[in-house]
Subunit: 302 residues, 2 copies
């Protein structure tokens, strides 16, 4: 029994109204691993890194129960690099640099030891890569969750449609849900996307919380009103990691348990934005997580 997490492990350079960092650890699978490993191990990581990816980071993650057998190391290559600048509202950002580097040649080969996969988290990546991982699994996982973004809707819609048909849960933000469905109403958007494959649609709305749809059932998860959002990078991946980590640790894929998983993901994401990169996640304790989940519980109670 295991959880596979597929995604990027990378470097980011970030500029927010609060400061600037030149080259810190990033990547969707990095955030998923830091978040999910609070709840469940082993996490069987699938990614690609260059020789520049720090050994120290690998060791820290291994110590938390992250398995690197499925992470391809290209010794003379460079890790994926992204650089962006956030606007004052922190909801919009400009991409300054995207250097694919080793990501351009990413064609994951799942190790045999990864075949016992029960939970599959497909982080934001080229749909063709997401598809390849699903197809390499001899037994269908109990739950496949995928994240994606508008970039793939514009550049790889045919592949994206194929992946959508094979997954259980789609996570997108509100503008992506609107783009994918052609519907402004999120209720209508969720119904339309369900026709494309996934039974569950999670729409992330940043500071406005998140919505979970299944058929006509809906759950509204709050976001914690924060005094400052220091750096939103990785908040969505952290949310995904908290979600899948909770699901895997409980072994329960019901709608009811997904609600709790979304609260867990939201709590983790609320920590993530407190510092640059995954730094805050790295120092997180079980007690802090439990306290934060309690805050979320109180937030909506009436």
């Amino acid at each position: 029994m295991s959880l596979i997490s597929v995604g990027t492990m990378a470097f980011d350079a970030l500029e927010t109204p609060f400061g600037k960092v030149d080259r810190i650890i990033g990547g969707s699978a990095t955030y998923v691993a830091w978040a999910a490993s609070n709840f469940f191990t082993p996490i069987r990581q699938v990614s690609i890194i260059g020789g520049d990816f720090p050994q120290e980071e690998i060791k820290s993650l291994e110590a938390r129960g992250v398995d690197f057998d499925g992470v391809e190391l290209v010794k003379d290559g460079k890790s994926f690099f992204w650089s962006g600048r956030y606007h004052l509202d922190m909801n919009t950002r400009d991409t300054l640099v995207t250097d694919l580097n080793v990501l351009a040649q990413f064609d994951p080969k799942l190790p045999d030891s990864y075949q016992d996969c029960e939970y599959l988290m497909l982080g934001n990546l080229a749909p063709a890569v997401q598809l390849s991982v699903i197809n390499q699994l001899k037994n269908r996982p109990k739950l496949i969750v995928m994240d994606t973004m508008n970039f793939w809707m514009a550049s790889a819609m045919d592949d994206l449609r194929k992946v959508l048909k094979m997954v259980d849960v789609l996570m997108v933000n509100d503008s992506e849900a609107r783009e994918l469905s052609g519907e402004h109403s999120l209720v209508k958007a969720a119904l339309k996307i369900q026709e494309m494959g996934p039974k569950y649609i999670i729409i992330k709305k940043g500071e406005h919380g998140a919505l979970l749809f299944q058929g006509r059932r809906v759950f509204f998860a709050p976001a914690l009103p924060l005094e400052d959002v220091f750096d939103p990078t990785g908040a969505g991946d952290t949310f995904a990691g908290g979600f899948i980590g909770h699901i895997a640790s409980t072994g329960n894929i019901s709608f009811e348990n997904m609600k709790k998983a979304i609260i867990v993901g939201s709590a983790l994401a609320s920590f993530c934005v407190e510092k640059f990169g995954p730094k805050r996640l790295q120092s997180l304790t079980k007690e802090e997580i439990e306290e934060r989940i309690e805050v979320f519980t109180e937030l909506v109670k009436f």
Copy 2:
């Protein structure tokens, strides 16, 4: 013991992506009265209307327990008229026409029978008018709630500051809270606005719900995800009416009870947007309201 509601009673012409109406009943105090009278009467209305305001509407409201002694009728005048066109997202709109008409001469004189006021709802109006009503009351009400808008922040900030010092609860939308405080973070905005007077700040976020702040305490109320928003006109006033109606009917002004009042207001607002103008509110039953409140309860339960 009574509830005073101060605001406009008017005509609106509306264009939404779903249709167009030429001249229907509108005005902040109209929506407040329709909403609040589900929970509490008498509602002592303070407004000004022209000879063109339909007798039928007055009779319908009187039948619900709305007192018109404080509504000035200018027989040879015309009622306030507003015309607007909503964009596809329904969150933004263009004002096409604003004819103040009798509103330009609005200088309310409170009837003696209004002096027993326990709950005062100051609908969106010139701050000088709001101030005049407060000053005419011999005894301070138990709770004063005010609504306002960005227009007054730009044109009558000095008066607005005076009213803010005298009220308990301020209701504004998110962009207005940001404008009034100069803070982007709503947490910081609410703290800053509390320094201006009101102990409680309610920030309305439309389809994203509402936030209630008192000191560092916060409550996050969901909005019902809707398939279609037919016409958002009056949703904020309906929310205010449901809020003050619940508070007045329970006689409880605690933070805990304000949470419930916000849910009641949100439930009423979710009906309001289903049809043009106050039409849907006029046909609403107690059972429908209770069912809708139950939907809100389920929406956030995990």
